[in-house]
């Protein structure tokens, strides 16, 4: 499934996210700029922060751990802030689109 990442510098990257992978994993594996993912996806670092620009309503809401960890993001937290290691793409009509913040730590 394709997901669009907008890097902090504005570059748009269309990335194929394999079945069962998270957005964070696909982004880091493809060298997308703007994600640190220091904790490797254990929802313990908040350095994989993203803003979901398209498709937010299709995603399951954050669980307790993600909600708590979102309080630690370095860039401004917005209503569409999520942790990309907790997100998997869906087969929705239009691809998910996430924007990466200017800083992660």
């Amino acid at each position: 499934m394709i997901v669009i990442f907008i890097e902090p510098g504005g570059t748009r990257r269309e990335i194929e996210v394999p079945e069962g992978w998270t957005l964070m994993q696909a982004a880091t594996a493809n060298g997308v700029e703007g994600i640190e993912a220091e904790c490797g996806g254990s929802c313990a670092c908040a350095t994989c922060h993203c803003y979901v620009e398209q498709g937010l309503e299709r995603l399951p809401p954050p669980n307790e751990t993600e909600a708590a960890m979102l309080e630690n993001v370095a860039a401004e937290r917005q209503p569409n802030s999520r942790l990309s290691c907790q997100l998997k793409p869906d087969a929705g009509a239009a691809p998910l689109c996430v924007r990466l913040p200017w800083r992660q730590s």
Binding site: P18, G20, W21, Q25, A29, A37, G40, A44, C45, A68
Partner: protein, 388 residues
């Protein structure tokens, strides 16, 4: 001849990579009769397993040979939601930004340990540097009373080993585990009597949803933190030192430009992967690469192989500090990704800043290294280095 993969074999301790290549290319979902479990060796398959704890459960234990009665009572051996609550209690202390205060104490420990090493023409990196450094750093982080460092480290190293013949924990390994559990129990009791501002005090009094943690959870989580912290960190530092001894060009660059040390740490986590293999237990049947694994079967996730998978990392067998291998599996990943990742990175960086400053040039003395007999971890028992 049919292919066999025995994670208990000494040949695999010494050099698992040729086996991994065959596994990835020809048997990506392999039943190891010797280990009594499936082995997943490709990066992409391991990532999928790590993301799916509902299917790949840790609740029956995560070490290849599990310690008795540990499963179900520690972070690494529970599944969400219990796991997340347990982790929530201590996670905060391990956040990168909450570790900054540790930087100067860590540097002071490294400098102090190096005083004796500086004088020597030849020394054992493990005995003389990394063990002393990691034990003292972990003692400071967890709040353990000073005095028993050497014994604690020796037992931590024994606990993670297994007997290559019986493919189980032997009496010495079990005795080490019992020793560590006793040691943890004493520390917990002391901290309960006189709480201090440290992690064990906090943890030993913590509650989840109004319930105090079960005594076993406090005890075994503390025991595991000591083991995971000391053995994993010390073992990995030895692998990094080994890489720098063998790759003089990389070492020279780090000496000239210490800001590259974090890149070397990441590449060594990928290239060597001291935490080679962990296991999960299947909760439903899964068919992968034409094989059907059954609910109840154990599955080994070979992080060390995923990190050398050419499908993910081009030219995987070369050590390249410019690679910046994001997403490597050196700390595992998913809900059970290493709790100590940030602290381990910071401790390693500071240790090697000081080490390379004190000893900018060195070589290894022995061509063949004695490898630890462990189906889970991979590191040498001894690493003799000499100044050049």
């Amino acid at each position: 001849m049919s292919f066999a993969f025995d994670p208990f074999a000494a040949a695999v301790d010494a050099d698992p990579f040729p086996y991994y290549k065959i596994l990835r290319d020809e048997y990506p979902c392999f039943w190891s009769a010797e280990a009594g479990m499936w082995v997943l060796s490709r990066y992409a398959d391991i990532v999928v397993a790590l993301n799916d704890w509902q299917t790949y459960s840790s609740a029956q234990g995560n070490m290849m040979t599990e310690l008795p009665n540990r499963a179900g009572s520690t972070l690494g051996t529970t599944d969400p939601p219990r796991h997340d609550r347990l982790r929530g209690l201590i996670q905060h202390a391990f956040l990168k930004r909450n570790l900054e205060a540790m930087a100067e104490p860590m540097r002071a420990i490294a400098k102090m340990v190096l005083v004796a090493v500086r004088e020597r023409e030849q020394f054992d990196f493990l005995e003389d540097f990394s063990s002393k450094f990691t034990v003292r750093v972990l003692f400071a982080v967890l709040g353990l009373p000073l005095g028993d460092e050497k014994q604690v480290r020796d037992q931590a190293v024994l606990m993670v080993q297994s007997d290559p013949v019986t493919r189980q924990k032997g009496p010495a390994h079990l005795a080490a585990f019992a020793w560590m559990t006793d040691y943890a129990a004493k520390v917990i009791e002391e901290r309960r009597r006189q709480p201090q501002d440290d992690l064990i005090s906090l943890f030993s009094q913590a509650e989840i949803d109004g319930d105090k943690l079960a005594e076993r959870e406090v005890l075994l989580t503390t025991t595991t933190l000591i083991m995971a912290g000391i053995e994993s960190l010390g073992g990995f530092m030895a692998m990094l030192a080994l890489n720098l001894a063998d790759h003089a060009a990389a070492r020279r660059r780090l000496v000239a430009e210490p800001t590259l040390i974090p890149d070397a740490i990441e590449e060594s986590l990928r290239y060597n992967t001291s935490a080679q293999r962990f296991r999960r237990c299947l909760q439903r049947d899964v068919t992968l690469h034409g094989q059907t694994m059954r609910a109840g079967d154990f599955v080994c996730l070979a992080y060390g192989s995923g990190n050398r998978d050419e499908r993910q990392f081009p030219d995987p067998d070369s050590y390249d500090i410019d690679r910046k291998p994001k997403g490597h599996l050196g700390f595992g990943g998913g809900v059970h990704g290493c709790l100590g990742g940030a602290i381990a990175r910071m401790a390693c960086r500071i240790a090697f800043e000081e080490f390379l400053d004190a000893l900018p040039t060195f070589r290894r003395v022995e061509a063949q290294l004695p490898w630890m007999p462990s189906s889970t971890f991979r590191s040498p028992l001894r690493l003799q280095l000499a100044r050049t």
